[in-house]
């Protein structure tokens, strides 16, 4: 997934906002933002953080600076292990054209030593927002690892996988009925990118997304749920 191809796929899908959320890093964010110039697609800088509980959390910010400052916090909380490319894959950093810039040698497929609520509070204090990722996945997810959504969790929405359907999902996890759910691609490959979550917002900013997830001030979020036969 190199930046020009991401932008091309975003254009094909009619996306006007995407977020770049590599695992425990935001080193590729600037390259994609640069590649997005002139395309009309807004790129939110972000990260998919793995918490102490091994729960994946989308951390989204407005600016690259906020994101990098967050990365510094996260880096200090990662174990000092080196990546093993044959197992975890290469951790490339690329430029806006997709050219190889370097490889992250530290293992990013690990947990940061920060608890779930600690992550939410820290990201909020930096002006960002947290959305627990793919909560219906059988691993690395809020529902699998922690059993249910903690009652005091200070987030506005939960992300579900593209395979999630309200009919079966809400029956299995009745608690989700009271939550705003969004569907993202969690795309590790171009064809996994999705265009099923529509935000009605005034600008592509964290504050606006917050309002949309809460359904306040005329902002809204609409998800296109598939029928059982339409799941890709």
């Amino acid at each position: 997934m190199i930046p020009p191809l991401i932008m091309e796929q975003a254009r094909r899908l009619g996306l006007s906002m995407i977020a770049i959320t590599d695992h425990n890093t935001c080193d590729n964010v600037e390259a994609v933002i640069e590649a997005s110039e002139g395309t009309g697609v807004h790129v939110l800088p972000g990260m998919e953080l793995q918490s102490r509980e091994e729960v994946h959390l989308l951390c989204l910010f407005d600016t690259v600076l906020q994101c990098h400052e967050w990365q510094e916090v996260v880096s200090r909380k990662l174990p000092p292990l080196s990546n093993k490319e044959e197992i975890f894959g290469a951790q490339f950093v690329v430029d806006a054209t997709g050219e190889f810039v370097g490889a992250e040698e530290r293992l990013l497929a690990a947990s940061a030593d920060m608890g779930l609520e600690e992550v939410v509070a820290e990201v909020h204090s930096r002006g960002g927002m947290v959305i627990p990722a793919h909560v219906d996945r059988p691993s690395f997810s809020l529902l699998a690892n922690l059993g249910f959504v903690p009652e005091s969790l200070d987030v506005e929405a939960l992300e579900v996988t593209r395979q999630f359907t309200p009919m079966t999902g809400l029956e299995r996890w009745p608690q989700l009925k009271s939550w705003c759910l969004i569907v993202d691609g969690d795309a590790h490959r171009l064809h996994e990118m999705q265009n099923r979550t529509l935000f009605k917002i005034a600008a592509p900013r964290v504050e606006e997304i917050h309002l949309a997830l809460k359904g306040e001030q005329g902002r809204a979020v609409v998800v296109d749920w598939p029928g059982p036969s339409q799941i890709s």
Partner: protein
């Protein structure tokens, strides 16, 4: 049946909450770090061994009616978790040792898992 108290003494565990119910008997053992699995697999009066220390651990332990929870590898509950454990009457026991080691020691004490 062996009591929580005997386990605390034999394994040198640190009891940090609901220490007044240490006389409770332990029927069996269960180990997992996925709380969704614990909710399905652990049984009432079991002792649960995990390295998770999130507040949800207390809710799960209380829901199932576990005899106690052992948090391994030096993981410590935060104050909110401790308060919740106290109010729910859930006994939390801490150890620097690994889950593997603790489970082995519990087996030697005759505490078996569910078949």
């Amino acid at each position: 049946m062996i009591s929580v108290k005997e386990i605390v003494e034999k394994l040198h565990l640190e009891a940090v909450s609901s220490t007044r119910s240490l006389d409770r008997p332990v029927a069996g053992g269960y180990a997992s770090d996925l709380l969704s699995c614990v909710m399905k697999g652990a049984k009432k009066d079991d002792i649960w061994i995990t390295l998770q220390s999130h507040v949800n651990v207390i809710a799960v332990a209380s829901l199932i009616g576990l005899a106690a929870v052992i948090m391994t590898e030096g993981n410590r509950p935060d104050q909110e978790t401790l308060n919740r454990a106290e109010s729910e009457g859930v006994t939390l026991l801490l150890t620097p040792r690994t889950t593997y080691t603790v489970v082995g020691a519990l087996n030697e004490l005759g505490i078996k898992g569910n078949p």
